[in-house]
Amino acid sequence: MKTASKRFWLRQVTAAAAIATLGPLALAQEAPKSVRIGWAIAKTGHNAGGTAATVMPNYQLWVKEINAAGGIMLKAYGKRVPIEVVEYDDRSSTEEAVRATERLMTQDKVDFVLPPWSTGSNLAVGPTYEKHKYPLLAATAVTDKAPELAKRWKHAFFFLGTGAGYAESLVSYLESAKKEGKIGNKIAMINIADGFGVELANATRKAAKQHGFELVYDKSYPIGTQDMTPLLTEIKSKNADVFIAYSYPPDTMLITEQSRINALNPKVMFTGVGTQFPMFKAKFGAATEGIMAPGGVDFDAPAIKDYFMRHKASAGYEPDRFASTIQYTTLQVLQQAIERVGRIDRAAVTQEIRTGTFDTIIGPVKLDNQMLTKLWYVGQWQNGEFYGIAPSNRAGAKPAIIPKPAWKN
């Protein structure tokens, strides 16, 4: 070979070697400055209460802890990258939620978006997430349509179950109590005239028929009712052993308070959202004993105890015992999915969420057809804590206290 071409090839080889060794170093230098996480949640309006109880403190806790540790570990760059938050208020309006989500995805171009509170809001933003191919980890949506939506929206994951799931679990649990002779077959049921209440009431009607229960009172009441006495007095006269109220925080408080005052003492009392909130425990103290509601936690598990402590330290109040743990679980799932993929690649992260198994505060989590089925459907206040009761064959399930101790006035 002539000297010129030898030098030429020498240069090529040296260059190639340089690139080979310096290449990964160059890639590491291209790590993003931050992982941009966005959310549009209800800071004002009628969804603000639920958001403040279940969503906001978890999002803030999650970001705080990750950034305290230096950030999310992106192994493709070999370093931790801190989270940068872009947040908006959707003012409890679905139109605003949709637009703010679009803003996050197309203007702010955040890496991942965390969803708002409530079934309605999650469903409203579903199409937007799907269109822009962002994973939607819905932790506060209860809808019977979840399986159908999961087929439509490949990027949507439902973590809080279906109305039918809750109703079936409750009624079949009651059936075994009935077989043991602890309760009769009469159920009095009321529900708030809102999506949640109506769906659960519908499912309960079906389940009641299948499991041999009779609905002796079955009425709905409008949002904003300020006095439950007329309904409660009627129910008292029906002498049903089971009283179910699919209610929201303000009416849950009202129903419990007025049941106590009117000495309505069913053997089983099941109220709705709000029962699991710290405000419920604060207001009713020892009188909470025996009250059941959707949700529950395995409070004996160290992971849960630790989570409660951290939440209280960060937000100033305890998490709720229904969706809070699920909400935090979704954040853990997202974080682990990102860390496993090693870089910001939404498609890969979504796939990982769909197929992977994750280590969370509620134990190992693997989604089944984009849905989480490992849920506590019924919980009960026992000794100042809201334990999971049903499904009774799940690890950590406590036996229910039936009958509920009578009100002490």
């Binding site: 908006y88 605003e96 637009r99 469903l123 809808t143 005239a193």
Partner: protein, 308 residues
């Protein structure tokens, strides 16, 4: 038509054509979303001004009709062709407005305002009760296959219709009757104008536009329930925008809708925690500083600055 009129209509048509091309080159979802919002409120504010401008009746019933329109889509959207859905919405809106209008246009002033608000709430309660007890299906899923572009174009057409209608009415005897009613209703009656018929007609037309607007917007939200469909915020924002812009003129409501939608967006994006406070302050400034709206302010400027 005079030459000025021809030019005006021509300019309008050109503007319309120009706006219609926007979705073709704007591939940004967020901006399209914003434009849809601007169009929606422009339609609502213009429809509001159609009735409330000349008659000076302040109405908070906007969302009663809007919500009914949205529900029409939710109920019929998947089973009937889209044109039929819109027609049904139109029909329901007209029927509702006729009933309400005939019964209530005797009320005046504050009573009408309160009444219109009560109407929206009553409609919400009735729809809730119906859904809970009769159809047993409160949350409705709207899976109509309509893209954001389609919604944009439909709203644009609706806006053109409502503006065209207002412009046309102003040139007819009806328009003259309206001006007389607005100035002094007693005089109008004495001059032989059937004020009730005029008011009911306008109320019905206004409601028709609002209902169809609701029907068009519903597919954006996937999930609809009475709280979402009958959100009072829609009535209030329409009112603010029409008042800001000036309900008496043709483009007044647009002068109100466009800046306010953009302002709300700006405030939402930059001051998420203080939105309510800022909106309230803006509103109060409007009430104190520009009571006749921007168009009224512009008109006065023209008179003062015109060397008179």
């Amino acid at each position: 038509m005079s030459r000025r009129d021809c030019l005006a209509w021509g300019a309008g048509a050109l503007a319309l054509a120009g706006l219609a091309t926007v979705p073709r080159w704007m591939h940004n979802d967020y901006y399209l979303s914003l434009l849809i919002s601007v169009l929606m409120y422009s339609v609502l504010a213009s429809a509001w001004a159609l009735f409330s401008g000349p008659t000076r009746y302040v109405s908070l019933a906007t969302v009663a009709f809007f919500g009914v329109g949205a529900y029409t889509t939710a109920v019929f959207g998947e089973s009937l062709p889209w044109a039929a859905v819109l027609l049904i919405a139109l029909g329901v809106g007209v029927a509702m407005a006729l009933v309400v209008g005939l019964a209530t246009l005797r009320l005046s002033g504050v009573y009408f305002v309160i009444f219109s608000f009560g109407l929206a709430e009553l409609t919400k309660q009735l729809v809730t009760w119906w859904e809970v007890n009769i159809t047993k299906d409160l949350g409705r899923y709207v899976f109509v296959d309509i893209t954001a572009q389609d919604i944009y174009w439909q709203l644009l057409v609706l806006l053109a219709l409502v503006l065209g209608l207002r412009a046309w009415i102003a040139r007819t005897r009806l328009g003259l009757a309206l001006r007389v009613i607005g100035e002094d209703e007693t005089v109008a009656v004495h001059v032989g104008i059937n004020t009730t018929r005029v008011k009911v007609l306008l109320f019905t037309l206004s409601a028709a536009f609002m209902t169809v607007a609701g029907a068009i917007m519903a597919p954006r939200w996937t999930y609809l329930d009475p709280t979402i469909a009958f959100a009072p915020a829609i009535s209030f924002q329409t009112l603010i925008m029409a008042l800001l812009g000036g309900a008496g003129t043709l483009f007044g409501p647009l002068l109100g809708a466009v800046p306010l939608v953009l302002l709300f967006e700006f405030l939402s994006a930059n001051f998420p925690n203080h939105f309510a406070i800022l909106v309230g302050l803006v509103f109060m400034v409007i009430v104190y500083a520009v009571p006749q709206g921007i168009s009224g302010w512009l008109r006065r400027r023209k008179h003062h600055g015109g060397g008179k």
